[in-house]
């Protein structure tokens, strides 16, 4: 398969692109959930995300992408201590994945050929320090969802089966996409996503023409198209790296903390995760825009995507939770 459609060549869908960039700047925000109609470029955007992520340093050959040789798990049986740059892992979790494939299991090849017990790491190991992408996340089997929730909570994958007793770090950012018409997401899983965006098809003809034009160019004139847009992708990647550095210097004024808390209180979002995410997202947003101080403007810009999936559902509100957040933001922040 050819390279994925470049991120910067996606027309419109600014909120979705912004959310992806924010989570690339600060992975601790906790991932993105993209919900929307068919044919709006959800999957395209997620697959394009990989090209935006700066490379990481990891021990060569380590199955869980450890940063330092001391962190390599024993079962890996790794001799080398050299580290090397590798692209940030973006691991696809297919809907049909079995529990064994997700958590890892006994290496059957070694078991049969040599009669020895060895652990074969699964998708969670590969996704450590990277991203785990689930397309059609609302159709995922319940027992896999439970498993993911557990691991996402603890940051550690524990495998206890057939004499194997293995634990390894599994810290990853969840990225999911889905179509709400096909099923709802359990609130527990919903809460694990830092940001949530809703996408819709563009309504004006010009934008739509531009989309088709670029898609056509991507398919029929791939080389020239990639050359043109990969440069733009690289520019965004540089800005992300710069923003990561700027993030450390960015100050959070007391007033912003107060704003964030008031906002979450007014919305009645459950738990404190909303506040934390909102703050982190606002900081990443400020860093990306090269601003030196956090202001209300930053909070306002990221409030809908950080909070819309944390509200209790009000059956009477047909406008959707995004509108509710915007309304409350206007009330609280003026």
């Amino acid at each position: 398969m050819t390279q994925p459609f470049p991120f910067s060549a996606i027309v419109g869908q600014e909120e979705m692109k912004q959310a992806m960039i924010l989570t690339a700047i600060d992975p601790s925000i906790g991932g993105v959930l993209v919900f929307g109609d068919r044919g709006t470029g959800k999957s395209t955007a997620v697959r394009a995300l990989a090209a935006l992520l700066p490379p990481i340093r990891a021990v060569k050959g380590c199955p869980v992408n450890s940063e330092k040789p001391g962190l390599v798990p024993e079962w890996a049986g790794l001799g080398s201590k050299r580290t090397a740059e590798k692209p940030t892992p973006v691991v696809d979790l297919p809907l049909g994945a079995t529990e064994d494939r997700v958590t890892g299991a006994l290496d059957i090849e070694k078991a049969l050929a040599h009669g020895e017990k060895a652990f074969e790491p699964g998708l969670l190991a590969r996704a450590n320090r990277g991203y785990l992408y689930i397309d059609e996340v609302n159709l995922l089997e319940d027992h896999i969802v439970d498993l993911l929730l557990d691991v996402a909570q603890s940051g550690e994958n524990v495998v206890e089966r057939e004499g194997l007793s293995i634990r390894h770090p599994a810290r990853f950012v969840l990225v999911g996409s889905g179509n709400p018409e096909e099923g709802e997401l359990r609130p527990q899983l919903l809460d694990r996503f830092g940001l949530s965006v809703e996408v819709a098809s563009p309504k004006d003809i010009d934008t739509r023409i531009e989309v088709i034009k670029r898609r056509d160019a991507y398919e029929n004139d791939n080389a020239a198209f990639m050359l043109r847009w990969q440069a733009e992708d690289a520019a965004i990647r540089d800005r992300i790296l710069k923003a990561r550095k700027a993030l450390k210097r960015l100050k959070t004024p007391e007033q912003t903390l107060r704003d964030v808390a008031e906002l979450c209180l007014a919305l009645g979002s459950d738990g404190l995760r909303g506040e934390l995410t909102l703050l982190k997202a606002a900081r990443a947003h400020a860093a990306f825009r090269d601003d030196t101080a956090l202001t209300r403007g930053h909070v306002r810009a990221v409030a809908p995507m950080s909070l819309r999936h944390r509200l209790r559902r009000d059956p009477l509100d047909e406008a959707g939770s995004g509108t509710r957040v915007t309304r409350v933001v206007e009330d609280v922040l003026g």
Partner: protein, 542 residues
């Protein structure tokens, strides 16, 4: 060039697909018969290596996995190839029975460059068709149901090799505008139309798109996706296309008069367009319409088995258990030095079944002063009788009462008859009628139940004099408004309901409420509990 008969359309779609497999595939709506067989015979124009799938296939068949017998025989791991490998044409039979999960897997395969996919859809009703996620990714849909006898000749001629075809910005604009005029939101549709037009040009040996290409492609790819009958005037002002470098003039007029193109599409619109749109709307309200699936381990349709403990009351899947134990035999023999079969607790696989979801009856009982005066006792009796029936049918029951200023969930969904009766008997009466609050509470229960895989039905027993609004204020007008609004929301969420008027005289307000709910309305003046429960059973269609 485009011929109007569905058969010619089908063959044309097939030839375009052979030129450009990226078009995704064809949905073929037809019953089994000579016509369909004729079409299947024509599939030879695609690469011959056809893979046949049906919706009940499991993941290891699709994606491959360990080939157990070969592995044991060879003493080393032998992987079985999955059927979904690389770009091979796929034939999906009984496509209308595809569950969403299976569709998602196929869709992911198509996205990754697999396919093309020929989906054989034998659905009878308009809403009995393959899942939208998959349908969306197939460029063409052809309906061969009307045809009695096909001039079933295999398409002649070799498939020309694809080459780049040029298009003008105006042609592109026209395709996009046309799609918008047909009310198609998704952007895959115009992308398919453009690709199909180019394939059509290749088929006729042209190097630039012609009018005929666009007309043929639009009728093939857009007509079945239309959600409205296309109107000539575009919804937005005539699009301005950016003049590309080297483009001579900006052309805001389309090459073909737009009217002609739209006429061509209109001719191809499915006859049941309105039904389909309605079915689609209904579907968005009611989930996917297949009924909520519930996983248990005692009965129903078998599902792939899962690891389970022996102590569970689950049934053991012997074959899967042996399969799980097989690769370990070498090690275990080695460890214990004992010959024979070694099976340990962790190998045990439990059978799982999927059955149709249970029903949940949510009783929202008006316990206000007016109702208490009238016939709270009778209502209680009726509910008790209904409970007994629900118990016999293994339905779940939830009980909500509303009085004063708010609604209270007396009993969350349960099967315990005794508990329900006890709560019901001790139900006090008196106070205002917060009908909207009661409805809201019922809806919340219903939505929760839906998420857990139950099929909820709300049964409202009231005398209909709503006098407390949702905010708790005693305002008759506002209260009635709130109740209506709540009813609309219940309807929009696709929850079934039933309104029982327990007042002495039938209340007009309740009648209109039940109309909003699209629910049966049962006025029961001077009715006893027996008649009430009989009426409810009737209305629920037992």
């Amino acid at each position: 060039m485009s011929s109007d008969s569905p058969w010619d359309q089908a063959i044309l779609a097939l030839r375009l697909l052979a030129i450009d497999p990226a078009l995704g595939g064809i949905t073929l709506r037809a019953r089994a018969g000579p016509v369909r067989d004729g079409f299947l015979g024509s599939l030879a124009v695609l690469d011959c290596n056809l893979v046949k799938l049906h919706p009940a296939m499991t993941d290891d068949v699709l994606h491959g996995g360990l080939d157990l017998s070969a592995t044991l025989a060879a003493g080393r791991v032998v992987q079985k190839q999955g059927l979904l490998q690389g770009p091979r044409p796929i034939l999906l039979t009984m496509a209308e029975r595809t569950p969403p999960g299976f569709a998602a897997r196929l869709a992911a395969h198509l996205d990754a460059g697999g396919g093309p996919l020929i989906a054989l859809d034998e659905g009878a009703a308009p809403d009995e068709t393959l899942p939208p996620a998959l349908q969306e990714r197939l460029a063409f849909e052809v309906d061969l149901t009307g045809i009695s006898r096909a001039s079933a000749i295999a398409p002649k001629g070799k498939t020309p090799r694809p080459y780049p075809v040029l298009h003008t910005p105006a042609q592109l604009a026209q395709i996009v505008t046309t799609a918008a005029q047909c009310g198609i939101d998704s952007l895959r549709a115009p992308a398919f139309a453009l690709a199909a037009a180019k394939a059509h040009a290749v088929l006729h040996g042209r190097t630039a798109l012609s009018d005929a290409d666009i007309t043929a492609a639009c009728t093939l790819t857009l007509a079945h996706r239309a959600t409205q009958i296309p109107e000539a005037e575009p919804p937005a002002p005539v699009p301005e296309t950016e003049p590309d470098a080297g483009e001579k003039t900006q052309n805001t007029d389309f090459d073909i008069p737009n009217e002609i193109l739209l006429d061509a599409i209109r001719a191809m619109l499915p006859d049941d367009l309105l039904d389909r749109v309605a079915a689609l709307r209904a579907r968005t309200g009611k989930g996917n319409g297949t009924g909520a699936a519930r996983k248990g381990n005692r009965r129903g349709r078998p599902l792939p088995s899962r690891a389970g403990r022996k102590g569970d009351d689950a049934r053991i899947d012997l074959v899967a258990t042996l399969r799980a134990a097989a690769p370990w035999q070498t090690i275990r023999r080695h460890d214990t030095g004992r010959e024979g079969l070694h099976i340990r607790a962790s190998d045990i696989r439990a059978k799982r079944f999927e059955e149709r979801s249970d029903r949940l009856l949510i009783f929202a009982v008006d316990a206000s002063g007016s109702a208490a005066l009238a016939r709270l006792a009778e209502a209680k009796g009726a509910v008790e009788l209904l409970l007994a029936q629900a118990y016999a049918r293994r339905d779940h029951v939830a009980l909500i009462s509303f009085r004063g200023t708010e609604a209270e969930v007396l009993l969350p969904p349960t099967r315990s008859l005794v508990q329900t009766k006890r709560r019901l008997a001790s139900l006090p009466g008196g106070g205002g009628t917060p009908l909207a609050a009661g409805l809201q509470s019922a809806l919340e229960q219903a939505l929760q139940a839906q998420r857990r895989g139950l099929t909820p039905t709300i049964c409202i027993l009231t005398d209909g004099r709503a006098n407390i609004a949702r905010d708790g204020s005693a305002n008759r007008v506002l209260a009635a408004d709130d109740a209506q609004h709540m009813a609309r929301t219940i309807r929009a969420n696709g929850v079934d309901a039933l309104v029982i008027d327990t007042g002495n005289r039938p209340a007009e307000a309740l009648k209109s409420l039940s109309q909003t709910l699209k629910a049966p309305y049962l006025p029961l003046p001077r009715a006893d509990a027996n008649r009430l429960s009989a009426a409810v059973s009737d209305a629920l269609g037992d």
